[in-house]
Amino acid sequence: MNNKQYIVLLVLVVIIAVLPLAMYSGMGEDEGYFGGADTSAGEVVEETGYEPWFNSIWEPPSGEIESLLFAVQAAIGAIIIGYVFGYYNGQAKERRKQKKEVKTEE
């Protein structure tokens, strides 16, 4: 694939992520939208009369702290991928350069 095809695929991903926001525009958590699927499943379980027998040892004290930790998680992943891909890209460039030099020397 070339760069253009990459961009097309990535734009598709963005559309998939944005579409629900447009579909339910104006709705919020109070109307029952954009909550976690696991929360809804938890409600179904609790309706059966079941009570969770164990609580989390530690919970992020607020939404802000939770989003901080999720962002840290994504950042760790992004740093690693960026580092490795940058390194690979540099190697590939160097290989191409050496090939060219060999050709011009001939």
């Binding site: 991903v13 027998w53 609580n55 998680q73 992943g77």
Partner: protein, 225 residues
Amino acid sequence: MEGFLPWQWCLFWYIVAMPVVAYGVIQIKKITDKQPESKPLLAVSGAFVFILSSLKLPSVTGSCSHPTGTGLGAVLFGPAAASVLGAIVLVFQAILLAHGGITTLGANIFSMGIIGPLVAWLVYKGIQKANGPTLLGVFLAAALADLMTYVTTAIQLSLAFPVPSFGMAFNNFMWIFAITQIPLAIAEGLLTVVIFDYIMKLKPDILENLKVIGPKVKEKVQAVV
């Protein structure tokens, strides 16, 4: 969800999941001993799970869920190795984010770390055997791994809470999890294709050594580059 499975089920899924993760650790050691040059790719696979499982995306059903990212690792290193990557992320989320849970860790490793990667690997190898297009294999592997992870979750919950019956409960949980997951699974498939194609362009040799692509595909890629 912490405490949301009866303890017998928690124990059961731990017993099922742990041997697979242990086997995965051995597998990873074997692969990296044999091919030390594949280590950066292992890091990339793990990092991909880190990123994707942190992104809670909205879906057309109006609720949010997150992709899993385990398909890439499964295609590159096999399902056992991918289960270790999934387990690491699940432990991170259970301890620091109160997301997933320690009691339910075994069940979550089973769905996200074992069934998902297993499906990805089977789909990818199946399409490879049939000489299908490599990138189509990657797309289907990643998307189906994502989807089947949540189908497995629905089955696990219906087994633990067959109210009023297993079938009715399954129907309920499938709506909550699997239908929400369909668009996210497609998005994950597309992202995995982009990142896989990029790896294939830059490091076709490593992929060939890992038996992810055959010599024919490698020649084709190198001809383009």
